[in-house]
């Protein structure tokens, strides 16, 4: 049985369906990308999987099944156990998810101590530093003593990934993890996410609008448009065999070296 099954879900905000009839399955260690323009419903889908729909959004039809259990019937308590340990999420700007008036270290140790009730403060801190360093942040101790605004975009994103990966979740949801970053930092972060799968066997769902990034990372690519699945398949199909007009439009838009020149 697949690790995650999303069966024909419809998601509505204030009774207006935003995403309709969306299905996907994900096996352990698989990477799947959701691609599409802003407003196509990509983020809504992964937020639904994480039980974090904003603004009164609800899954009105269909079911989301994670390891054989329906996530839609989870109680608050069960969600709390699941989030951060079995499923975790990385946001577009991890700096914005952290409290700007608290040091990274304080937020991170609190995060660890919420998940592990009996861990001593010092141990939590060591664990956090270890995790930051594993995510290739030089001098984790320094990072722990910094405020989010003192870190660069790439560093903040690494802190976000480190936090998300602390308990080696089975499923990682990443919402435009590299869109706010420089190309060089983007390449580093993408590579790092690929290593998560190699090292921990994490399955990943990535939301992105860049088909280049999606094609590089994923086993399976889903193209979304206006809340519906427009096209899907593996990289080979997407890049070379798809006959979908919209997929072609997105592919054309990726700037490519030696590609179209307008001048």
């Amino acid at each position: 049985m697949a690790m995650l099954e999303v069966n024909n879900i419809t998601i509505s905000y204030q009774n207006r369906p935003t995403v309709t009839d969306f299905s996907m399955t994900l096996e352990k260690g698989q990477i799947c990308s959701l691609v599409g323009e802003s407003g196509s419903g990509k983020t809504t889908v992964i937020r639904a999987i994480f039980g974090l729909l904003a603004g009164g959004g609800k899954v009105t039809e269909g079911d989301i099944i994670f390891e054989g259990e329906s996530l839609l019937e989870y109680s608050k308590e069960k969600w709390r156990k699941l989030r951060g340990s079995d499923i975790s999420m990385i946001f577009q700007d991890s700096g914005a998810m952290m409290n700007p008036t608290r040091r990274v270290g304080d937020a991170y140790t609190e995060y660890i101590r919420t998940h592990e009730k009996n861990i001593a403060k010092g141990d939590a801190r060591t664990k956090a530093i270890d995790m930051l360093e594993r995510m290739r942040l030089p001098s984790g101790d320094n990072v722990m003593r910094s405020y989010p605004f003192q870190l660069s975009g790439g560093m903040r994103q690494r802190v976000g990934i480190a936090m998300g990966m602390t308990y080696q979740p089975k499923l990682l949801l990443a919402d435009e993890p590299t869109s706010a970053l420089d190309v060089t930092t983007q390449a580093q972060i993408v590579r790092q996410m690929m290593e998560l799968r190699e090292n921990y066997g994490t399955a990943i769902i990535v939301v992105t609008h860049n088909l280049g990034v999606a094609a590089y990372m994923s086993d399976h690519i889903i193209v979304m448009r206006n809340g519906k699945i427009e096209d899907q398949g593996d990289r080979d199909y997407m890049l070379y065999h798809s006959e979908n007009e919209y997929t072609h439009k997105l592919l054309d838009a990726v700037p490519s070296i030696g590609g179209t020149r307008y001048v």
Binding site: D182, V183, A187, A215, I257, G259, Y262
Partner: protein
């Protein structure tokens, strides 16, 4: 390849230092020399914090360099003051990265676009409607949008409004600071198409800041690569790709996700973070991240040398003739 008589703006030995804590000095731009030609695009590429924006702000007189001069048609604009400076601002306009933050949210699109025209008394308030409509149509937006506010528009539409506002005064040159990096790739493409079309029609000079070499190669005539405040390579736009020489330019190139790339290979990227501009190494600024670093690189800072027509590199690996 560029005609010297088309030279419209030239930056000469521009250096900018900022005072930093504990008596240190942050050198944001170090001896930058660049030339902008009529109707051509110069792309300035580099990572965040390398000094791209600092430099471009000099061009629009939002800041002044500590040393060096910026010649607009032979006149040093860093020395302009008062009314003269105000009048000069009509010649060079700017488009910012995030129009949602650079415009007054309480102003209607019509007022946003017409404000510069009114400031310079180019139109009467009664003409606003007509002019706003024309300008919106120029950037391929329906004229009815003039009644809206910024927050009612999508990112792509906003950026078009920003372009319309910048072009309202019919400047000789516009500076675009990462004008597309907040947009979806598909919207980005349409904006680039619009910019290039307008450039052809109006023969505008463009200074474009960007960090994506894949994007910049699609429309720049000249590309300058900046690293920690230093220009490390200047090349003709079509040379990106096979012909770029500096190890840093190559590293930038290698980190572009291209749909035509070889997916079996691992994506390459420079692993380390960009060093703090407070302690730039004495030799080549790139030496501690470069995998071809030699002994000389640590001691002597390389200078730009010409290695081909319109192509200059600052690297000890390439011994060209002195530029």
């Amino acid at each position: 390849m560029f005609d010297e008589k088309d030279l419209i703006l030239e930056a000469k030995h521009v250096t900018r230092r900022f005072p930093a804590a504990k008596g240190k000095v942050l050198t944001a731009n170090n001896d930058v020399n660049l030339k902008f030609y009529k109707g051509k695009t110069l792309g300035l590429v580099g990572e965040s914090g390398c000094g791209k924006s600092t430099f471009m702000r000099f061009l629009v007189s939002l800041d002044k360099p500590s040393e060096g001069e910026i010649l607009y048609k032979g006149e040093d604009i860093t020395k302009l003051k008062g009314e003269k400076l105000r009048q000069h601002r009509q010649n060079i306009q700017m488009v910012f990265q995030d129009p949602a933050q650079s415009f007054n949210p309480k102003m209607k699109i019509r007022d946003v676009i017409c404000e510069p025209l009114l400031n310079f008394k180019r139109i009467k308030p009664s003409e606003k409607d007509k002019v706003a409509r024309e300008l919106l149509e120029m950037v391929e937006l329906p004229g009815e949008l003039a009644d809206r506010y910024m927050h009612n528009m999508s990112g792509g539409q906003r950026q078009r409004v920003a372009i319309a506002r910048a072009l309202a005064l019919e400047p000789e040159m516009i500076v675009m600071d990462e004008a597309t990096s907040a947009l979806d790739v598909s919207v980005q493409k349409t904006i680039i198409e619009l910019i290039t079309k307008l450039q052809r029609e109006k023969n505008i000079t463009i200074g474009f800041i960007c960090h994506d070499l894949g994007l910049i190669q699609s429309f720049a005539h000249q590309v300058a690569v900046m690293y920690l405040g230093n220009i490390v390579e200047v090349m003709p736009g079509e040379d990106i790709g096979e012909n770029c020489k500096h190890p840093y330019s190559k590293a930038l190139l290698a980190s572009v996700f291209d749909i035509k790339m070889d997916f079996t290979k691992k994506i390459e990227s420079i692993d380390s973070e960009i060093p703090s501009p407070l302690d730039v190494p004495p030799g080549c600024p790139f030496c501690d991240r470069c995998d071809q670093c030699m002994e000389i690189c640590k001691q002597e800072r390389p200078i730009l040398k010409e290695i081909g027509p319109g192509h200059e590199v600052a690297c000890h690996l390439y011994a060209g003739k002195e530029a």
